[in-house]
Amino acid sequence: MPIKIALAGNPNSGKTTLFNALTGSNQFVGNWPGVTVEKKEGKLKGHKDVVITDLPGIYSLSPYTLEEVVARNYLIHEKPDAILNIVDGTNLERNLYLTTQLMELGIPVVMAVNMMDVVKKNKDEINIQQLQKELGCEVVEISALKGTGVAQAAQRAVSLAKSGEAVMPVHQFSEEVEEALHNIAAQLGNVPEEQKRFFAIKLFERDDKIKEQLQSVPDVEPIVKAMEDKLDDDSESIITNERYVFLSGMIEKCYHKRNRQKLTVSDKIDRIVTNRWLALPIFAVVMVIVYYVSVSTVGTIATDWANDGVFGEGWHLFGIGSSDYNEVAEEYDLASLKTEAYLEAAETAGLDTEALSQSIADGEVDQAALSAFETEASAAGITAEAEVLDDNGEVEETLPVNLDEFENAVAVSEPDPADYGVWVPGIPVLLEDGLNAIGCADWLSDLILNGIVAGVGAVLGFVPQMLILFIFLAFLESCGYMARIAFIMDRIFRKFGLSGKSFIPMLIGTGCGVPGIMASRTIENDRDRKMTIMTTTFIPCGAKLPIIALIAGALFGGAWWVAPSAYFVGVAAIIISGIILKKTRMFAGDPAPFVMELPAYHWPTVGNVLRSMWERGWSFIKKAGTIILLSAILLWFLQGYGVENGSFGRVEDLNNSILAVIGGFIAPIFAPLGWGDWKAAVASITGLIAKENVVGTFGVLYGGLDEVAENGWQIWASMRESFTALTAYSFLVFNLLCAPCFAAIGAIRREMNSAKWTWFAISYQCVFAYAMALCIYQLGMLFTTGAFGIGTVVAIMIVAALLYLLFRPYKEQNELKVKVRV
């Protein structure tokens, strides 16, 4: 039997830091059964037989928050061998309030007074001996951040646990209350002696959840009622007051504050940071920095490196040689453009260029064919014009090409990136070489390279960027600013059912929804967190930008307003969903009124920030290995297999794939949205791997092109044949709002920690997207062409239903209700 030690303490008391210091990397993270509260366990460093359980941060053992109930149930049922109670030395009285309750459980308690370095720096004094005597438990001074006294505290807890001595609480309430408690305890027949006081107090407080845990509940109402009448207060307040009276008296004896400064440094910072006028500007600056570094600059570099380097062809170590290579590669691109233009002109003029073109394409120029061609071309006096195209496929520059230039251009050979700097080949390249070397079957290497590596790689490519972002989040969280953000933004977000902290996931979601969803973990309130997870991906992420560019370019002539309108649609979807959802039964009921403790500002340690970053990143990587892997393989199969030339097998043409069949099957569903074309349906499905795939699929289906530019200008013309501006916008809105990519769905699954909630979130997103796109198309048709049909009626009904859901009366409940199976 391993020794079980529970780590208990207030939120912000340094509990997590202490837990990390005690267990190092020996941690298992999970959830408490039935709830989304995170459970962490770990083995004590150097003691394989000691398991430490990190209880949620709590202020009391009352039944009013989920965390309290979870912690309380664990302590009563699992009966750990000892409790290591960490208290914040700079805030002793409030922290000891919990300690007095822990002492009553009949479990040996060791108290670790944390932040002793700060206490000493403030020249305050805590009389440890006195504290020990007054509370009746062992007291150790520690600084979790600096690691001092930590091992000693753990050692004490271990030896106390081994001795198995049940401690009796020393603290006493006023005589009359003690007498009442004594009378109640006397009626608790089958409760172990050391737990009697705890149950007596809970019964006195009329704690219903405790009654459920007792085999027989004695009727103590007369005792409680008599006491309430006598003290003219309700029983629970009586106990709370008794505790604080005891603590105030004790604090005076044990705690000497040297300088009673009214405003601490932390308060002074708060005066500025949460100031009425400065709060929002300061917040904006902080967010811009976070966004700029983790999404725009360093984040983009990291993502490009991961996607094009590690999961692409390869990369230059430390970027050495990459600028040289790019220069040469650009030269080569220009040269091949000229070569092509010249050969084309020659062909038009009737010259035979086939042999030469083929040899150039193969990379080995046939010198005989070349000189023969040159003689002919010179005789025919051929000149050509090479067109340099910009990003939108417009001609940017026209360069005349004569024979001399053609000769020079042909001589330019394709540069090999490996010749510049230190070239590290990407994983697909290495794998391909490896698979070829072992003579792997074609279908298997196709599965590995195009299915697994391409699919999972597309997702893992975001990991470096996420890690950068998580560093920022961890820093903001542990320095104390995150709590202030919630305070500043709360009043705005509260209006549509979200929390002040919802802003951060949404901002990050503009870069990538995956870290955005994962950032929602900083939201404590269960309802707020679920709503945030469900709505974060409505914001157009980086991968959706190519879709917007394609639609804007192809159907709206590149109108400036299309992209901003996409963000507007996203924000509107969040606000509408927030208001609608908070009025539903699923979300109503347990919104917490805004009450939260603000930890004092302090510098976090590098180790803690990195650990927090890694924990979040790793849980995502693990997800990529399971759910995302399976989805990628499935879609690879649907995309690559089908019936071609009368037999089932690997198909070259996406038009013949199973996916195309499925697309044709489900396409009618999208007919009311104006794009009942199977190609659009298939593109939406491939968007599940990664949203930018929508553009690539369009390239294949509309242009027969394997590769298109990011905004797909090559297929603009053929898209104009299948779409109108209205149907295209409806398609855009649907793809912006519907289920996100697999990576994001995986993140939703991870954060919801429930399959049911994940399905609900995905279904809600799809239904909402469908309804929005339907309204846009049908009402758009009504206004532009006057067409009126069943679709129009449905659209009007949806709008009416939305307006009802938005404006139906609702009263935010001012209650803290927790429904937990006890």
């Binding site: 202020y59 009391s60 009352s62 009013y64 928050t65 914040d88 700079t90 805030n91 002793l92 009285e93 409030r94 309030y97 629970e236 307040s237 709370t240 007051n241 604080y244 009214k262 405003l263 932390s266 308060d267 708060d270 005066r271 949460t274 100031n275 009425r276 709060a279 709590a483 202030r484 919630a486 305070f487 500043i488 709360d490 009043r491 009124p593 805004f594 009450v595 939260m596 403790e597 603000l598 930890p599 004092a600 001012n814 209650e815 803290l816 209700k817």
Partner: protein, 70 residues
Amino acid sequence: MMPLTMAKAGESNSIKRVGGKEEIRRFLENLGFVVGGDVTVVSENGGNVIVSVKDSRVAISREMANKIMI
């Protein structure tokens, strides 16, 4: 007696009464808002206030602050 929202920033006041629904009141009491205890408004932002109670800083909404009488 006046609600906490009326208190001047930086001034220490004694709590006279904690109102509101039972659960809320319990939660506030556990955080240190007990009758007879001292409370100081540190900062105010759009109606929400940050107060100092029992040596810790707690942010509460205006609705809650209105229910704490000093």
